[in-house]
Amino acid sequence: MKTGNPEPANHPSESPLIVFKGVTKVYGEGQGAVEALRGIDLIINEGEFLAVMGPSGSGKSTFLNILGCLDSPTAGSYRFKGVEVSGLTRNQRALLRRHYQGFVFQGFNLLNRTTALENVELPLVYRGAPTGERRARALQALETVGLGGWETHTPGELSGGQQQRVAIARAIVTGPAMLLADEPTGNLDTARSREIMELLIDLNRRGGITIVMITHERDMAAYARRTVLFMDGLVDSDEHNGRGTR
């Protein structure tokens, strides 16, 4: 089922944070061209917790890259906070990421040989925050993800779950409007995955951060309030599930 205009119910806020209209993405040219997205229409409101599912090659990663301003759509319109992103330059998109978005990856993507604190401080360095403020906010973010006292440890000295917490702390330290998570539990065991999901739910509920998460595990998607299923570059279904509010 292709959903043109989803009706978000029981959301804390009704203002749309993200509006996709007929977004397509084509890689390559001519004969070898691959259509990764074939016309996506989607609205995500502020404060939503959205899970994106779909088989490999369904276009969900491309969708997340465009959502995270790492990539531009080939055609169509993507508005973030009312701003048209499609026409922005690379640097303008970088500034958008810097100020409004946080990323969490499957592979954690922390800087090795660099302490948890310094990893979390990194986005603030690019924001030009003074050292003292940087330190305080990074410690605060580590506290929020339950890693108070671990700030001097490097990624190599932390477990997978802890590393993902550091990555989440890094993503939220700037107080972003949206958190993008690409299979955040993909490398974790079930117990650790649950903990991470509880943390994300907490951030969504109490912090009011909009979360868009890619996953291929139904269990994890069930934590979200809304699940969008991608299939062959199109939105196949868009469901609001009650379980997300458990």
């Binding site: 890259n65 995270g68 790492l70 990539d71 690379r90 640097n91 970088a94 500034l95 958008l96 990421r97 810097r98 100020h99 978005q101 990323f103 990856f105 993507n109 922390l110 800087l111 040989r113 990194l122 986005p123 360095v125 690019y126 924001r127 030009g128 890094r170």
Partner: protein
């Protein structure tokens, strides 16, 4: 931000200590070689200038014989004392003229003997050669006229014959003559060619001609031009006068030679400068090679840290911030190399100056230029790898294993 970037760069450099050190080595050697070469070359130039000035300012040396190639003997007649007198009388802007005849002679005092060069000349000799007496007195007119058995010793001869004993008033034997020591020359040390300028005995010209040489010949006329006078003009006038006196027909070449020490100084320092420039440029090539080494390592570093660059870009780093990070890293690397090169150059030039017996002349200019160049090489050779890093696609970079 820039302070942070520099700290970050230093941390990155320390992380790969061995590699950073080897990369820097190229710059260290390049900067070190450039500074050392130019410093030593500068010292050699200063030494030559000093020595020729010490030989006597505005000095011209007139020698008999043609300009011949090496090994060819000259058959031209020698000068007579009259030639020197003619120069003094007929050429204006001449301050002093000293005729001289020399021969290697064994000097004996008690049990000590020493083979040295005995020069017969007049008191003008001291003036044109810029020599002064450490002790004693010059020759008197009557001694010069009568050809008295008196002599003035150089420092080396004094040391060899007398050791620590008093010299003035003693008598030494020079071949068949016994002469009284009346004076002592101030020490002038060695020339750049290693000739000992203190290994001399000076006696009156007439004494030399009558009692040592047995003829009236003069091997060398030294002329000093007046201050502010053109040595070139004096040279031409001497040439004209000598051609006339020696009956050289217009179709023949000169059968004597007038050397202008100022000209020789200019030629020699010019040669040294060219040599210095040549050595400096060879050294500069090694600096360039060092720069290529930096580029190489920075490219490797960018490839190795692709994922890190991806993370930074995803977090919101701008292209120019990533560019700056890698550029600063290259510049810090090359500048540290430059600093180490400066230290190395200081040590090696002081040492080399000692070995080559050249004065150590610190050249702040070349040190500044070499350091500036080492930093500039960081910018030039670091730019391409840094640009490569900044232009990475964050999505691709994050996928990089």
């Amino acid at each position: 931000m820039i302070g942070n970037t520099i700290l970050l760069a230093i941390r990155e450099i320390r992380r790969n200590m061995m590699r950073s050190f080897l990369t820097m080595l190229g710059i260290v050697i390049g900067v070190g070689a450039v500074i050392t070469m130019v410093t030593i070359g500068g010292g050699a130039t200063v030494q030559i200038t000093n020595q020729i000035a010490g030989l006597g300012s505005n000095l011209l040396m007139v020698t008999p014989g043609k300009r011949l190639g090496p090994g060819q003997a000259s058959t031209a007649p020698l000068f007579k004392a009259k030639d020197a007198e003619a120069i003094a009388a007929e050429i204006r802007s001449v301050a002093a003229v000293a005729p001289a005849a020399s021969r290697s002679v064994m000097a004996v005092y008690g049990n000590a003997n020493w083979t040295t060069v005995v020069t017969g000349t007049r008191n003008e000799y001291f003036q044109v050669r810029n020599l002064s007496l450490e002790a004693g007195r010059p020759f008197t007119d009557s001694e010069l006229r009568a050809g008295a058995a008196v002599c003035i010793l150089g420092e080396t001869v004094r040391r060899r014959l007398f050791g620590s004993q008093d010299v003035l008033g003693s008598t030494i034997r020079l071949e068949k003559i016994t002469c009284e020591v009346i004076g002592l020359l101030e020490s002038k040390g060695q020339t750049s060619m290693g000739t000992d300028q203190d290994d001399v005995v000076v006696i009156p010209l007439r004494t030399f001609q009558r009692r040592i040489a047995g003829n009236q010949d003069i091997g060398l006329i030294m002329v000093s031009a007046r201050e502010n006078a053109s040595t070139e003009r004096v040279r031409q006038e001497i040439e004209r006068l000598m051609r006339e006196r020696r009956h050289v027909s217009p179709s023949e070449d000169d059968n004597f030679n007038v050397m202008d020490m100022k000209e020789i100084a200019k030629t020699l320092t010019g040669t040294t400068r060219v040599l210095t420039a040549l050595l400096g440029s060879v050294a500069a090539v090694s600096l360039l090679v060092g720069g290529i080494g930096i580029m190489n390592i920075m490219l490797v570093s960018v490839t190795e840290r692709t994922r890190e660059i991806g993370i930074r870009l995803a977090i919101g780093a701008l292209e120019r911030e990533v560019l700056l990070q890698f550029l600063v890293e290259a510049v810090v690397l090359s500048s540290l190399g430059g600093l180490a090169g400066m230290a190395l150059a200081l040590g090696s030039s002081v040492w080399l100056a000692g070995v080559l017996r050249v004065p150590f002349v610190f050249n702040a200019g070349i040190v500044a230029v070499a350091f500036f160049f080492s930093a500039a090489i960081g910018v030039i050779f670091g730019y391409f790898p840094a640009l490569k890093a900044a232009r990475l696609d964050p999505i691709e970079a994050l996928r990089h294993e």
